[in-house]
Symmetry: C2
Subunit: 200 residues, 2 copies
């Protein structure tokens, strides 16, 4: 019946941390403070999160599962990079599109602190690896898989950057298409001869 503790300790810690980081910044917030607001102890915080940064990155693994799911579900006839961007579009529709405000505030928190930016970059790298693994599962060689996954994530970052800007109001799905188009244009802009190694 009556549980021994208030439910959802993890959620309370995440919410408390989000509020405090937004109010007074990441550095000026201590783990003790977060835990106190959530009605828990510092030690409990570290039972749930490996470190102070990690509390902001709960959605990451969900997004990763979603993308990989979409990617393996997607028809194998599509060129790899298109398949990746398709999966990103589907996952973004499912998880980002309706939460623009929250996602944006979260990015502002991260943008305001170098440590958090580092962690964000690491999460993106892990996601890149997961996508590359899925592509290898489709038969791509490891090199191409990783390069394709990286290019896909580059498209994702470009699109999300615009999506979180005040002036922008178009759906993330469209911005992903645009970013892919931009990357293609930049990559195709010249022939290889300019950078060929001299007399190999």
């Amino acid at each position: 019946m009556m549980p021994r503790w208030e439910p959802d300790g993890v959620g309370r810690l995440q919410a408390a941390a989000f509020e405090l980081f937004a109010e007074q910044g990441f550095e000026r917030t201590t783990v003790a403070e977060i835990s106190r607001r959530a009605g828990l102890t510092q030690r409990t915080f570290f039972n749930h999160f490996a470190d102070k940064r990690e509390v902001l990155f709960g959605l990451g693994s969900e997004f990763q599962r979603e993308i990989v799911r979409e990617l393996v579900a997607c028809a194998g006839t599509l060129p790899p990079l298109d398949a990746v961007v398709r999966a990103l579009q589907a996952a973004s529709d499912a998880m980002f599109e309706e939460r623009r405000a929250v996602v944006k505030r979260r990015y502002e928190i991260i943008a305001a602190n170098p440590e958090l930016q580092e962690r964000e970059l690491r999460k993106q790298a892990e996601l890149t690896d997961a996508i590359a693994a899925a592509l290898r599962g489709r038969g791509l060689d490891p090199e191409t898989a990783l390069l394709t996954a990286s290019a896909g994530m580059l498209v994702q970052q470009t699109a999300v950057r615009r999506w979180t800007q005040p002036a922008e109001s178009r759906p993330l799905r469209e911005l992903l298409s645009d970013a892919l188009h931009s990357l293609r244009t930049i990559a195709a802009h010249a022939t290889d001869q300019w950078v060929a190694s001299p007399e190999t």
Copy 2:
């Protein structure tokens, strides 16, 4: 004449840290230990480096200056991405090519520790921004500049990854050309129609 202290404290700290990280790993090495081996104190370590990770990233800023220098020096007629890869080739020739062994050991140390990987990613992001700034200086709009710089860094990472593998013996310059070619192939592999947004 006789200096008050042994010369090059920074260099001694870097060397001591490099050795200890290689011997026993990053986590199992304390700052006190590094400082002791360098004949200095912990406090002095933190006078020179903002944190424990930073001691491994001294060359980063040099490489950044070198690339930007090459980039602004390079003829403005070249397509942006080609100019970036050209600059990377020049900088790599000047700073990496003859130190393969050291660079490789350094990457092994970084690969063995998540915290160091995060810092490495941050340095790459900073380098990306510096390249983008140089491209804006050439008249590119900010969006394209950042995307081009990111694509260039993707080429760089792909090339360096191969360069540090045991089987590989070709010069980094060539691997950069190859990686650029791979990226172009992947990007060009299909038309945009597949990912166009449905009935906007």
